[in-house]
């Protein structure tokens, strides 16, 4: 009976009820679209960055800088130590016994693969064009095991590094900037004095602009020669079974080897912070929309209570309790929330699909054809639960107020 009365009351104010339902629908729709868009961007960035660069990187330097000699001698923290004429020591940094370390790492639980790397900067020249690049010297089979770079090739083959003398694979942006194609020869020079001519054997595109516009791959031995780092390994790239566990595994590795070991989360901390802020803003905006919708629900229910004081009195006179009256109004909020949420979820799903198909060429931090829309069931659940909670919360006050009316006072007032 309570449902019967609730539904009839809602239908009697169909237009206002529809406006309230529309308010909830729009809030849910906006939440789904915005979170899908933001999450899509975040996912794309994280996945592409993580998968093309490895989950964990062991660097050739200790986490803590060694205590300087003067600070060892003068341990007073308040002392001002000034040195004149200091020159940096020419120190060759490298990971000691990288083969042994990699063997140890491969035996650790949670680690799938480890690959050696020598990295450094170089200048690439093609004709009159010159461009600064990051050179990563790798063993192709091992690199493909720790990253997805092999799948990101848009021209050539990653394994050709092994079969081509002084071969180089360029990021899409680097190739585009220099205007080179497969089999073109580039002149490379490094700050360490190394020089070579490399043949383009492949072009990759990760979709992450900073990577595609700076990174290049060479065979490990070729890169060691170019960067003047003979037999030196200065990074080890690691792939884990579950990339979300990278932070924990990185700290374990660091404890074992003593080298600074960065998880992808640590390496991209600034971006992750921005994504967190972005998520907070999304929640804030959609939350504000939902609050506005909730005020709509509150408003229509209060109006409904005020204009049905006589109904409440007569319902009580023939036996409805305070609880029954509360439920009649609470159910109205529930129906508005339920319909608004379900329609919002449906429209949200359609909007996500529609936006995904929009023919847009996007290029920013990440490059994509069409909007990057991610769909996680948790977002739909959050939208539904949030909308239901807030609309039901909005129904509490009118429902309680309706239940408080004293039928005798109402009937006396009507006389």
């Amino acid at each position: 009976m309570r449902w019967f009365i609730s539904i009839r009351y809602l239908l009697s104010h169909l237009r206002q009820s529809l406006v309230c339902i529309a308010g909830v629908t729009i809030s849910v729709l906006m939440f789904i679209v915005m979170t899908s868009m933001m999450q899509g961007f975040t996912d794309k960035f994280i996945i592409e960055t993580v998968e093309s660069s490895g989950h964990i990187t062991v660097h050739d330097e200790p986490r803590e800088m060694e205590t300087k000699i003067l600070e060892r001698a003068y341990q007073n923290p308040n002392a001002v130590l000034v040195l004149h004429g200091v020159r940096p020591r020419d120190q060759i940094k490298q990971i000691k016994n990288p083969i042994g370390l990699m063997a140890t790492l491969r035996r650790m639980p949670g680690i799938v693969a480890a690959a050696p790397m020598v990295s450094g900067d170089a200048i690439a020249t093609y004709g009159t064009k010159t461009f600064g690049i990051a050179v990563e010297g790798v063993e192709p089979e091992q690199e493909i095991a720790v990253t997805t770079i092999g799948d990101k090739m848009i021209a050539g083959d990653f394994n050709k590094l092994k079969t081509t003398a002084d071969g180089i694979i360029l990021g899409f942006g680097v190739a585009q900037t220099l205007g080179v194609h497969l089999d073109d020869n580039l002149a490379l020079s490094s700050p360490e004095g190394g020089q070579t001519t490399a043949k383009v054997v492949g072009v990759f595109s990760t979709g992450v602009t900073p990577v595609d516009y700076s990174r290049t791959y060479m065979l490990l031995s070729d890169a060691q020669t170019l960067l003047n780092k003979k037999n030196i390994i200065n990074e080890i790239t690691i792939r884990t079974e579950d990339y979300t566990q990278a932070r924990e595994i990185a700290s374990q590795i660091e404890a074992i080897c003593g080298y600074k070991t960065e998880s992808w989360q640590e390496a991209n901390e600034n971006f992750l912070k921005i994504f967190t802020i972005q998520t907070v803003i999304t929640y804030f905006i959609t939350g504000a929309l939902l609050v506005v919708a909730a005020f709509g629900v509150l408003n229509i229910l209060i109006m409904s209570v005020l204009e049905r004081v006589n109904d409440i009195a007569i319902l009580k006179s023939f036996g409805l309790s305070r609880s029954d009256i509360t439920q009649i109004y609470f159910f109205q909020g529930l129906v508005i929330g339920l319909l608004g949420s379900l329609i919002g979820l449906g429209l949200g799903k359609l909007a996500v699909e529609g936006l995904r198909r929009l023919p847009l060429q996007l290029e920013g931090l990440v490059r994509s054809e069409g909007l990057m829309m991610a769909e996680h069931p948790s977002e739909y659940i959050q939208a539904f639960v949030g909308a239901m909670l807030i609309t039901m919360l909005a129904a509490v006050y009118p429902a309680r107020r309706a239940a408080k009316y004293d039928p005798v006072e109402v009937i006396r007032g009507a006389h």
Binding site: M1, F4, I5, R8, Y9, L11, S12, N310, D311, A313, I314, L315, K316, S317, F318, G319, L320, S321, R322, S323, D324, P407, V408, I411, R412, A414, H415
Partner: protein, 264 residues
């Protein structure tokens, strides 16, 4: 209009005699509205017993407390237990409905008791305008839950037919005339076969013709052994009852059987 043969379903209990426990009993009933300086003592120690099958009218000037007494007898209001100076009334101010002390019941139980035993008719019909006449009559039955939805709809249709509204069953309450609305309100009050039908100025809002129609309905219901307590200003209608109670300043001043002699 055809005689209303007590609008009951098979198995309706036989109405009792005056030796039985009263159906409605007021014991030293006080009702004070407001508090401290603004307190108004509406009822000042009313004692009253109403037995099954009685047809009682309560008359009195405005403000004499007759409507307040009616609401208390029907469990819609609760008697005041303490005087303004906080002394407890002795004997305690109590209302009994079918021997149940309403002061011992919580709101939920009292509401259920009202639903089962009492039918109210007010001066204004108080129909729910979004519902049809039939649905309005069904509401108390839906609450009681004794009948299935279809049985409740059938009974509502039967009640409305007997009250001369056969053609208006599916009509929205706000599309009915004043007299028709009041008849729907009477049908709603009778929906759960209440032990007592309590009416507060049931003809107060009606024109002469419709007032007479409603008065006839009450008369016929009383003839069918329906217990009726009616508050009215209409002396003609009051004298159609079998017992007439007169109230003045919160007290019962006369309680008399209405005889053919007294009608003269």
């Amino acid at each position: 209009m055809a005689r209303i043969d007590y609008l009951s379903q098979p198995g309706t209990q036989v109405r009792g005699s005056s030796e039985e426990a009263p159906l409605l009993r007021a014991q030293n009933v006080h009702r004070i509205l407001g508090s401290a300086d603004t307190a108004t003592h509406i009822l000042k120690g009313v004692d009253l017993s109403i037995h099954r099958s009685e047809y009682v009218s309560i008359v009195g000037a405005s403000g004499s407390g007759k409507s307040t007494l009616l609401y208390l007898l029907g469990g819609l209001d609760r008697p005041t237990q303490r005087d303004v100076d906080q002394t407890e009334f002795a004997p305690p101010s109590r209302i009994f409905i079918d021997a149940q002390d309403t002061t011992q019941l919580n709101d939920q139980s009292l509401a259920l008791l009202r639903n089962e035993k009492i039918g109210f008719v007010f001066q204004f019909h108080y129909l729910l305008k979004e519902f049809t006449a039939q649905e309005n009559v069904c509401l108390p039955m839906f609450k009681l839950g004794r009948l299935s939805k279809s049985d409740a709809m059938d009974r509502a249709a039967m009640l409305l037919k007997r009250l001369g509204l056969a053609e208006k069953i599916k009509r929205r309450a706000n599309r009915l005339s004043g007299g028709e609305q009041q008849r729907v309100a009477i049908a709603r009050a009778l929906a759960n076969e209440p032990a007592a039908l309590l009416a507060d100025e049931p003809t107060g809002n009606l024109d002469r013709h419709n007032g007479e129609v409603v008065a006839d309905i009450f008369h016929e219901l009383a003839a069918g052994n329906q217990t009726i307590v009616m508050v009215t200003h209409d002396t003609t209608m009051a004298r159609r009852a079998r017992r007439m109670i007169t109230m003045e300043d919160g007290r019962i001043t006369h309680d008399e059987a209405v005889t053919t002699e007294s009608l003269k």
